[in-house]
């Protein structure tokens, strides 16, 4: 989750009163933002991904001061017409088809503010913008741009400009292969024959989204007063939302918002559109969900605390809020304004009957029987590794592999004995006998919803000087007598076991597992110097036979 830094003094000034650090911490977290720390004047807050409008100091204090009862209700942002045009060329249609833009005037920039804006841009990029994939943002000094501005796609060889903070002009190819931003985000342009650019009426390239701005026409300095801002991507709704967040933040920094006219062929739209959207709310629904008897005036008060306007079952949702999809989202905001800490817990007055899953009970019984025989239960991972599953155990099988793992665990296990052999090999320094078992899920390709069949299997390994076929079969005998099942052992070859000392366990004509003495070759692969007798039983199969 993105973290933002706030200045305590600035925040306290906004709410117009002094409160202790503890109280401040409590209020910040009860607003639904995770307080990380308060150190001196610096407050660190984590913002949940559904509230990108709070990713700036301006956005956060707008929400927080209203929550604290200062400047409640809907905040109106005036938009003036600029009559500036932006023309979207057909060439971007299959490349990065949409943009939403605005001009913000009368900003007073200093180094601190420039840094702040870059910060907001970065935070929006990484969270709401999904690392520029869904939405990329550009901010430009408007005075250096000759309008109308064009958004079009050019062949890479037609693109050449001096990227931000570089000393010389570079070609598109050079930017992607040499520039830091090019190397990081270049994959977003992979496979495209043309790349998108913003270009002004003097044919100056402003930027190549979603990679980098131009140094000459795309760098905001302390002399900049007016900025042109654009968001580009694939979903116009998302871009408009992002633009609204950015424009209102800049307005809170002292700027004036001017709209632009975007020409998508014949279709013309004006952005930004900061009109609040209207959502209906039903008082009964609110009370049903929250279990409280709110009156209309209560929910009005609470909605206003959360930055909404309420009027006759209609809620005016500010244009920078992207998380209000259904009235349930308003219900949550009412609960937050009322205070989660003020809800008294109760228990419902209906009655239900508890019930265990019978297979879980069965597996638990099997474990208890084995514990009665002095065996120690283990608890192992389902993820395994190809070498343990097949090479070390000398046993070929069709493994279910996983993608892009960050560890050496690269597949799902097909059987459990290898997990236990691994446990034994890690416990060579500990006292023997080591007689262990585990019940866990094993995976194999087959007919099911996912194409993988899961079975819960029991594995037992007896590891001590005396372990042999007789000892493991005694356990099998006892277990089956307790489960009231009969079994037969059939001849069986398995490369993990010693030939002539391995058998299939057959129950009611079905294969239910195998039993035997582990092959010394396998033992040495696991660096074991103590004999192991083992069995593996498919409990899912056994349970289905009951």
């Amino acid at each position: 989750m993105p973290l933002i830094k706030l200045q305590k003094q600035v925040l306290l000034k906004k709410i117009g009163r002094k409160i202790s650090d503890d109280k401040l911490k409590d209020r910040i977290s009860m607003l639904g933002t995770d307080i990380e720390s308060i150190e001196g004047d610096e407050i660190n807050v984590e913002i949940f991904p559904n509230r990108p409008d709070m990713l700036s100091e301006q956005g956060f204090s707008r929400a927080f001061s209203s929550f604290m009862g200062i400047n409640t209700g809907l905040k109106e942002y005036k938009t003036e017409k600029s009559n500036e045009r932006l023309i979207i060329d057909k060439s971007v249609a299959n490349i990065r088809p949409y943009t939403a833009c605005a001009i913000i005037k009368d900003l007073e920039f200093d180094d601190c503010k420039i840094k702040e804006i870059i910060n907001i841009q970065e935070k929006l990029h990484s969270s709401f913008g999904r690392n520029r994939k869904r939405c990329a943002i550009g901010i430009y000094p408007f005075e250096k741009i000759k309008t109308p501005i064009y958004y079009k796609a050019l062949k890479p060889e037609e693109i050449k400009f001096r990227p931000l903070e570089c000393s010389e002009a570079m070609s598109a190819k050079q930017i992607l292969s040499q520039h830091k931003a090019g190397k990081e985000y270049g994959y977003l342009l992979n496979g495209l024959k043309k790349y998108p650019v913003f270009i002004d009426s003097d044919d100056n390239i402003l930027s190549m989204p979603p990679i980098i701005n131009s140094h000459s026409t795309g760098k905001v300095t302390d002399k900049t007063k007016d900025v042109f801002i654009e968001c580009s991507g694939f979903d116009i709704r998302i871009l408009k939302q992002c633009l609204n967040i950015l424009a209102t933040t800049l307005a809170d920094m002292g700027g004036k918002i001017y709209s632009m006219e975007l020409e998508y062929g014949r279709k013309k739209i004006k952005t930004p559109d900061l009109e609040p959207t209207i959502m209906k709310i039903d008082l009964d629904y609110v009370n049903k969900i929250l279990g409280i008897n709110f009156k209309e005036k209560d929910i009005k008060k609470y909605l206003e605390r959360m930055g909404y306007r309420y009027n006759h079952n209609r809620v005016y949702v500010p244009a920078y809020r992207v998380d209000v999809l259904h009235q349930i989202d308003l219900v949550e905001d009412i609960a937050i304004a009322y205070g989660y800490e003020n809800f008294k817990g109760k228990l419902p007055d209906f009655f239900t009957i508890g019930m265990e899953n019978p297979f879980e009970v069965y597996k638990d019984k099997v474990s208890q029987i084995l514990v009665g025989l002095g065996l120690l239960e283990c608890y192992t991972y389902h993820l395994s590794n190809k070498s343990i599953q097949s090479e070390k155990t000398n046993c070929k099988s069709d493994l279910v592999e996983i993608k892009d793992t960050k560890t050496e665990y690269n597949c799902l296990r097909t059987w459990i004995i290898p997990s236990l052999l691994q446990v034994l090999s890690e416990n060579k320094h500990n006292e023997y006998p080591q007689n262990i078992f585990d019940i866990g899920t094993a995976f194999k390709k087959g007919n099911s919803e996912t194409g993988v069949v899961e079975n819960d299997r029991l594995a037992i390994c007896l590891c001590n000087e005396e372990s042999n076929f007789t000892k493991i079969k005694q356990i099998l005998d006892y277990l089956f007598s307790q489960l009231d099942l009969k079994y037969e052992i059939k001849d069986f070859d398995h490369d993990s076991f010693i030939e002539g000392r391995t058998g299939r366990i057959n129950v009611k004509g079905k294969n239910a597992g195998f039993i035997g003495e582990i092959n010394p070759k396998v033992l040495s692969n696991f660096e074991l110097t103590m004999p192991v007798a083992a069995l593996e039983l498919n409990l899912t199969e056994l349970f289905s036979l009951l």
Partner: protein, 508 residues
Amino acid sequence: MNLKKTANLLSPLEREILPLLNKYSSLSDLQKKSGLKEVEVMRALQWLSNKQIIELKEELKEVIKLDENGRQYLKDGLPEKRFLNAIKEEALTLDEIKSKANLSKEEVNACLGILRKKNAINIGKDRGFLIVSINENGKKMLEKESLEALFLKLKFPFEIKDLTNEEKYAFEELKKRKDIIKADLLKLKSAHLTPLGKKIIKIKLKKKSIDTLDSSMLKSGSWKGKDFRSYDISINVPRIYGGKRHFVKESINYIRKIMLSFGFKEMTGPLLQTSFWNFDALFTAQDHPVRELQDTFYIKDPEFGKLPKNLVNKIRLAHEKGIQGSTGWQYKWSENEAKKNVLRTHTTVLSARTLAKLKKTDLPAKFFAIGRCFRNETLDWSHLFEFNQFEGIVVGDVNFRDHIGFLREFFKRLGFEKARFRPAYFPYVEPGLEIDVFHPVHKKWIELGGTGILRPEVVVPLLGEDIPVLAWGPGFDRIIMDYYNVNDMRELYKNDLKKNREVKSWLK
């Protein structure tokens, strides 16, 4: 401890030795009189000394021992005697004597000196060679053993002060000669009764007490009239280990017990799921970061699973356009994305499946699940790619206050009297909460995870109408770690058999 009890503790060996201690104190005497082996006597003395019945003393004494030549002469006879024997019949040259008596040149010379001093031989010369013959004195010497020869036959070692005058003479003579005797320091052990010992020895002890009671004694009744030797019951015994459930399974069973007592039904289901169930049915947009490869385990082959036909369009609608007053996510929902197989990232997937099967007549209903979930993580002390989650849902006429009520009761049962709830965001619940519990020992809040009321976009497609569903799914590895004082998450799955054998049982 009273005397009788102490006496009863005595082992058979101690009982043999104890009466002898009245008269004897040296180890050698005790060994001789008891007829036991030296180690047995030593063991008995040590045990008696542990019980403070005797005091063991060690003395250093200077004693005389036979040296190398001395031991040889004891076997072969002294050289002077062998010299005299060689010339008993005829006078011989020194070389002839040397070979006949099997003596070294040194010994021959020594003998000449000794025998001359004792006036036992005559020495003459023939053609330049010395010739030695025996005289009357010498013949007499042959008839009886010399004092020196007798001395060699004494029982070594012994102290000089114990010698008679004659022995002392022989000792002085032999001392001058090479490697026959030597002086040595010797540790002499002796046992002496303590005041307690003197009392104990007066108690009449049966020599035969019963050590191990066996079945033959019981069958024959031979135990009758005998004493049982008492044991030292405070003694350390060798450690044994029992068979045992794994501590994580024990804690899972405990949570299961709580949920059953609250009237919840258990849900189970596969670990591998389609993204449809794991994400889409839970209204997680297809471009949500949680669905990225770097957070979630996808499967190489089979990469895709099958979708439930009856639900696909309902879920598509919820995502693309929204249902029942929702705007939805307003994007193009992809069936292919939903088909991707994924290792379940939460047990909430089981709740989604349960809701899809639930009939109106089953309501109200409560379900729980405890199970393994996965996330694409590296392995370190605070990160694992497998973890446990427990899941509960309540479906029916319930609200936010019931939600808080349930959670408070649940955590109370786990030992956390204080719980607090903060607003939090999860894509499939609204209102969403984060649970913190107050740790009674460490006096701090622990974050346990997320809960909330399932969104209408989740419930309506699965259940058919907007009925409140309370849902919670905190991880509980942290609770287990806290109970067992584990600081490294990897230990839950490490299976260090020594630790697992010794770890305390889950006592709740």
